[in-house]
């Protein structure tokens, strides 16, 4: 008797799943609708929007004011990832703490790692700080494949946009001329803007700065800044008293006055360092959307450079 009861229940279960299967036949005829693009970060979203124009819908998982290392793998993201045609990631293990389970659970074959709808933007970019020799976590939360904050160099922005253009053209060959034209326009505008930014930063070239996290090597290289120290003793390790004392001594010795902090870090230690060195803390945002007015990749540099110049001028 028990036997039959179990079988009835198992049959019910099986029937339930067949019903689910039947309900879930995807709607047909969506072939030429907009490409649905999900990106890990807002910067990639902005670049994808530049290239994709009105042929794509783009949304980022992380917000611009959020630490991209620590995003929560919320189920609400799954609903968006499930519908995505293309997923663009920063790579270099930046998202390793949250993206892999989202990709697996999305049940979307198109965006699985290695599938045509999975694009790792780091493949196109110039990567700095790739560790040499032995890599251990005595160095903190090191990224063995290099520094993942590479989008903060406009040249890398251009490279990534080119990579996105190729991917979009591959996915929608009919629109490839449109994407090429969008990219060309973007390239032209970015080159013009970059000339302006470089000119703005020219008089500050070679200036020494301290940053909270190692988010700025590409930015510093492009604009000729010299990062001499970090508030974090090691990447991902919170400030320690001993390191802070050493940092203050180093800043005094080298006459460094500027401490750049990302919007998601606590300002207590940077402020205390600034007080003791006569310096200034400046909160720069590493990502689009870090402040309300930073709505695209251009405004990101506009904002950061304006704030940086202002800060350089006041400490001088």
């Amino acid at each position: 008797m028990q036997h039959t009861r179990i079988h009835t229940r198992i049959r019910a279960l099986a029937a339930g799943f067949l019903l689910v299967l039947a309900l879930s036949v995807p709607p047909a005829g969506r072939a030429e609708s907009k490409l649905q693009i999900m990106t890990a970060t807002t910067d990639l979203a902005s670049l994808a929007q530049e290239v994709g124009g009105d042929k794509v819908d783009v949304e980022s998982i992380a917000r611009g004011y959020q630490d991209p290392h620590f995003v929560e793998a919320k189920p609400s993201f799954l609903l968006k990832l499930r519908r995505a045609d293309l997923l663009i990631v920063v790579g270099l293990e930046l998202e390793i703490g949250w993206l892999p389970p989202l990709i697996t659970q999305s049940t979307n074959p198109k965006i699985q790692v290695g599938a045509p709808g999975y694009l790792d933007a780091s493949r196109f970019a110039k990567i700095l700080e790739i560790p040499t020799g032995q890599v251990t976590r005595a160095e903190g939360d090191v990224h063995p494949l290099g520094n993942p904050h590479y989008w903060l160099d406009p040249e890398n922005g251009l490279r990534i946009a080119k990579g996105i253009q190729n991917k979009l053209s591959e996915m929608r060959p009919n629109d490839s001329a449109y994407f090429a034209q969008r990219y060309d326009a973007f390239e032209q505008r970015l080159k013009q803007a970059d000339q302006r930014w470089l000119a703005d930063m020219k008089s500050y070239a070679g200036r020494k700065i301290v940053t909270y996290h190692r988010s700025w090597p590409n930015f510093a290289e492009h604009f000729g800044l010299n990062v001499i120290g970090y508030v974090e003793p090691r990447p991902g390790i919170p400030p320690s008293p001993q390191h802070t004392v050493e940092l203050i001594a180093q800043m005094k010795r080298d006459g460094v006055k500027l401490i750049i902090v990302e919007p998601y870090f606590d300002l207590k230690t940077p402020n205390s360092v600034a007080r003791q060195t006569g310096g200034q803390v400046v909160v720069l945002t590493p990502s689009v959307g870090g402040e309300k007015e930073i709505t695209d990749y251009f405004k990101l540099f506009d904002y950061d450079i304006a704030k940086l110049r202002q800060a350089f001028d006041t400490v001088h």
Binding site: Q2, H3, I6, H7, I10, A15, G16, F17, L18, V20, S24, R63, Y65, D67, F70, V71, E72, A73, K74, P75, S76, L78, L79, R82, G91, L92, E93, I96, G97, W98, P101, Q105, T107, P109, Q112, V113, G114, A115, P116, R123, F124, K126, I127, L128, I130, P131, T132, V135, G140, D141, P144, L145, G146, K162, K167, G236, I237, P263, Y264, D266
Partner: protein, 467 residues
């Protein structure tokens, strides 16, 4: 049974079909094979060949120059589109194919800056195989206890568990995760399953041994818990530390939901052996687990996670009695609710979690009067934790649980927990635990006052944080 066969046939055939639809990935790196047949021995021909070689060498130099110029101009061309199967495989083709001739660089990528060179890889050709190794991690879990507990004492000091994790993408259609736990009493495959990620109709299929999707705490590994021990209710009603952890199939799918809600259904079929909770004496004594999850964002920082679960399997209460052992079942029901708060701008400093789980157990047994009887029991735990800053988390837990085998006994307890994180990869935790516990044999109650402490350390691959 027939229907199950039909269902699995449908799933597997459609999986196979979708696998076949996917375009095969082709390697595009076939170098131009230059084959010269130098069979003839005439001098003239040798000379012609020499000339040709010389001309080729010149061309190579020319091409090299051009390439250098292109690199200087930092021209951006996407690399060949071969799929990258590992997330951790950003390496230049030069490293992937060290034997490739230097004059045929596959990548027009800009040269790396002088201060940064590639990750060191030893041993030439054989080292390439390492790139395909799974992500390996080991989590050590050291626990100590002091104080008094007469009912369920734990050792003063123990390396409670060393959990080795192996995780990899298997092929374009599946990934696999294995967690092998080395404990004081031996080795246990805690979980090892393959997940098919490319099934049609949004289905996610897992096959292997796994922690059942029964409530929340049952799915969480020891090292990811917010406390050192497991709640009393886990020990009393849901099979102890390992909980429902069995070999079988798991099929889940997102379900249609109202706007802003996320619904997910999971159905699992297991062999029916989970510690002393379920025991299958016959092949058809399978256990089943069903789980429904509802999730909603209440804003970008706050969210609500709800679930109901059901589990059913045979138990061992009838073994050795005059009754037919296959008649004895355990039915378990649970409901869970979690409220999370984590402000995005200060995510690494502050967060709050409040979780409640309720369990009902209906277990068939032979009553003291030697008749067939279903014993009911209820248990719950309530957990709150607050991350005060980047390094410190405080928490508390309330426990109350009946005994699955004796309805007259109820354990009560509470804990206060303090956690310190030197970094993301280690954790030091202290827990004060009070319990008013019943001895299942003597049915006497006694108070337990204990202090537990724990050191956790993580080696190797950076696993994803559980949500």
């Amino acid at each position: 049974m027939k229907r199950i066969a039909v269902l699995s046939a449908v799933i597997f055939f459609s999986a196979a079909a979708s696998a076949q639809q996917a375009p095969p990935h082709e390697s595009k790196k076939d170098g131009p094979a230059t084959q010269y047949s130098v069979a003839a021995s005439e001098e003239a021909r040798m000379k012609t060949l020499e000339d040709q070689v010389r001309a080729l060498a010149e061309q190579v130099t020319l091409l090299r120059g051009e390439l250098e110029a292109m690199r200087d101009a930092r021209s951006v061309e996407p690399r060949s589109e071969e799929p990258i199967l590992l997330t951790a495989s950003h390496v230049t083709p030069g490293i992937l194919a060290p034997s490739a001739p230097a004059a045929v660089p596959a990548s027009p990528e800009p040269t790396p800056p002088p201060q940064a060179t590639q990750t060191q890889i030893f041993g030439g050709a054989s080292s390439n195989a390492k790139l395909l190794n799974p992500d390996i991690s080991l989590i050590g879990d050291f626990i100590g206890a002091a104080g008094r507990n007469d009912v369920s004492p734990s050792p003063s000091l123990e390396l409670h568990e060393s959990e080795v994790g192996l995780q990899a993408i298997i092929d374009p259609y599946a990934r696999a995760d294995a967690f092998i736990s080395f404990g004081e009493t031996g080795v246990n495959v805690e979980e090892a399953y393959v997940t098919f990620t490319s099934l049609p109709a949004g289905l996610l299929l897992r096959v292997g041994k796994m922690r059942a999707e029964f409530g929340k705490v049952n799915t969480i590994h020891n090292h990811a818990l917010s406390f050192i021990d497991r709640p009393l209710v886990t020990n009393n009603l849901v099979g102890g530390e390992d909980g429902i952890d069995d070999a079988g199939f798991s099929l889940s799918r997102f379900l249609p939901a109202p706007k802003d809600w996320f619904f997910q259904g999971t159905a699992q079929v297991f062999r029916g052996d989970s510690d002393d909770l379920f025991l299958a004496t016959r092949r058809q004594d399978l256990s089943v687990v069903g789980h429904l999850r509802a999730y909603r964002d209440l804003g970008e920082s706050t969210n609500l996670d709800l679930g109901v679960s059901y589990a059913r399997g045979h138990n061992n209460a009838g073994v050795g009695t005059g009754f037919d052992p296959s008649r004895f079942l355990t039915n378990l029901y649970s409901a869970d609710a979690t409220l999370r708060w984590k402000p995005l701008r200060r995510a690494i400093y502050h967060s709050f979690l409040f979780r409640n789980e309720f369990f009902w157990s209906a277990r068939d047994r032979v009553s003291p009067a030697a008749s067939f009887q279903t014993q009911h029991a209820f248990g719950l735990y309530s957990d709150a934790e607050y991350r005060a800053n980047r390094r410190w988390t405080i928490g508390g837990r309330f426990d109350r649980s009946g005994h699955a085998a004796n309805a007259n006994l109820t354990d009560t307890g509470f804990s206060a927990i303090l956690t310190y994180w030197p970094s993301e990869f280690s954790q030091i935790r202290g827990q004060y635990r009070f319990g008013h516990l019943a001895d299942p044999v003597t049915t006497n109650y006694s108070n337990a006052n204990e202090f537990l402490f724990q050191f956790l350390f993580v080696m190797g691959a950076h696993g994803a944080h559980p949500f």
